[in-house]
Symmetry: C2
Subunit: 321 residues, 2 copies
């Protein structure tokens, strides 16, 4: 199976769903701003998890597209507001929304995606009791994403962050939306609460491993593959799992939080972090979360969709950027 | 009947609902920021409309409190984000959230109130089909509020705004949340769709009249009563209904958009706008929307709650600030 092809075959429907469910209407400029990021692509991983979860419990792909669009819009809303907060001016190789439209425009475009996600979800032609479960889950997830982003900003101003605190932050900021995608797909596909909860755990646990692995890639990937400066997390003083492990073991990192560093200095830091076991520690933890996540799918009968979910998990931890 | 006392008797329950349904929990500073504005008071008019609408169709007050909290949180979320966008640094006599917590904190606190509103609404112990109607309505309303705020910002940069455009803007930015409050109260109180739609129209139409009247008060109210500089809309060049009427009739207003003006200049402008009939025009239109709104309640049987809704409408157009 080619997992990329499997995802692409579904994301075509998600793209069509975005066009239909978030049309560019009056006031046009607001909707153009709202569609800017969703139209710029992205891997559509959350919709993919939702759709394959539905298929894995014998649900119908077409019928869950609005929910897949909803989770993608929530994801895009968080990117837009995060970029304003983090003052990140480039997203998906383009000027961020607050650069292209002003911070005011970006706040409003984000808010619009937020409400549209719930409008689209609540407007689905599905049993009301299942829909309410999905609305409850997605709104709770959005609250947790806000908590995660708050913690992330808070950590920037602190000297010490524990491993547990870091894991709570990435769980809320990143993983829960994967969990919600898995569970919503299962619920809408007709699964029992037990199976739906297993899909939630699958999404959360693999989501944590993706995020830990992202931090590793930032450090070990060649720049021409990474598409940005290698070691940027280190230079920015970001408290990733690697840095937390290193500091716990009194490893000295001169480049940490220095704002800039030469390639040689980053190579030296990489060598220090390799010798201290910090990179292996992060790799092992990512692998462990991945395995825990995959094992949650044991509850499912064998199917092509189940295999694809497992392959997505493996793919995320074998990617090079 | 003392309408203020009637509203207060309900807002006690709304305040308690906010405390229970939006507890200050981890991360505490995020929740303190989220509670800052709801705890600072406000008239709780939207919750009042929702609760009296429920009571007017023989619904139970206690059971609709979570929905009343939800509309109040949505209202507060819009205030927080609007204040960032409009660079308004004072709200309810206190520093605005983005001043007290930074723009980042204010964006996140607003986003948290947004998701909490849906979490609280979807978590209600009510029939799922009614809840889904409420979620659909509230999310659609939030989208319209974004559209209204976008139009409001857009109008600032334009020379000409028509009366229809202005009415669309205040309808979306202000009125629809009153409409949604009325309709949600009716639906949750057990009303038919026909009655619920009448309550929606009541909220929207009276909401328009409130907003038009707000613009009048900004000009005619003595400053010690108004609590801010009189004529600020004129000095800021805000395209209110009064200004739109005046410009349509080629009335010359030297202070318009000048940023500042003496009391004498504002008095002179007031006199010009009185003579041109612009203020009476706005007053008449506000009164007309109010009467249209009140007539929508003819569908209801007589009750104390119906009388209170009518009294709220009258009160809003007899207030002095």
């Amino acid at each position: 199976m080619n997992v990329i092809e499997e995802i692409k075959a579904r994301s075509v429907h998600v793209d069509k769903g975005i066009e239909e469910l978030l049309p560019i209407t009056h006031p046009e400029e607001l909707y153009k701003a709202s569609r800017y990021l969703p139209d710029a692509g992205g891997k559509r991983l959350r919709p993919a998890v939702l759709i394959f979860a539905a298929e894995a419990v014998n649900g119908n792909m077409e019928s869950v597209i609005p929910a897949a669009v909803a989770v993608e819009l929530v994801h895009n809303f968080t990117l837009i507001h995060d970029d304003i907060m983090d003052k990140d001016d480039v997203r998906r190789g383009m000027p961020a929304l607050h650069v292209k439209w002003s911070p005011e425009g970006a706040i409003l475009a984000g808010d619009t995606l937020y409400s549209k996600a719930f409008e689209i979800l609540a407007g689905m032609d599905t049993k009301a009791d299942i829909l309410i479960k999905c609305v409850s889950l997605l709104s709770k997830t959005c609250t947790e994403i806000c908590e995660g982003q708050w913690l992330d900003i808070d950590f920037e101003g602190r000297n010490n962050v524990s491993e547990d605190e870091y894991l709570e932050m990435i769980m809320k900021k990143t993983s829960v939306l994967y969990g919600a995608s898995g569970k919503m797909g299962a619920l809408l596909g007709g699964a029992s609460d037990e199976v739906a909860d297993a899909l939630y755990d699958f999404g959360c646990l693999t989501g944590i491993s993706f995020q830990i692995y992202d931090d590793i890639l930032d450090l070990i990937t060649p720049e021409d593959v990474l598409g940005k400066v290698r070691g940027s997390d280190l230079m920015e003083g970001k408290k990733t799992l690697i840095a937390i492990h290193a500091f716990k073991h009194d490893v000295k990192l001169d480049v940490f939080g220095k704002g800039s560093a030469t390639h040689e200095q980053i190579d030296e830091a990489l060598s220090i972090l390799t010798n201290s076991g910090s990179i292996d520690y992060a790799k092992d933890l990512a692998a462990s979360y991945l395995e825990q996540g995959k094992s949650k799918l044991d509850i499912l009968e064998d199917s092509q969709a189940k295999d694809t979910l497992l392959a997505i998990a493996d793919y995320m931890l074998s990617r090079k950027y």
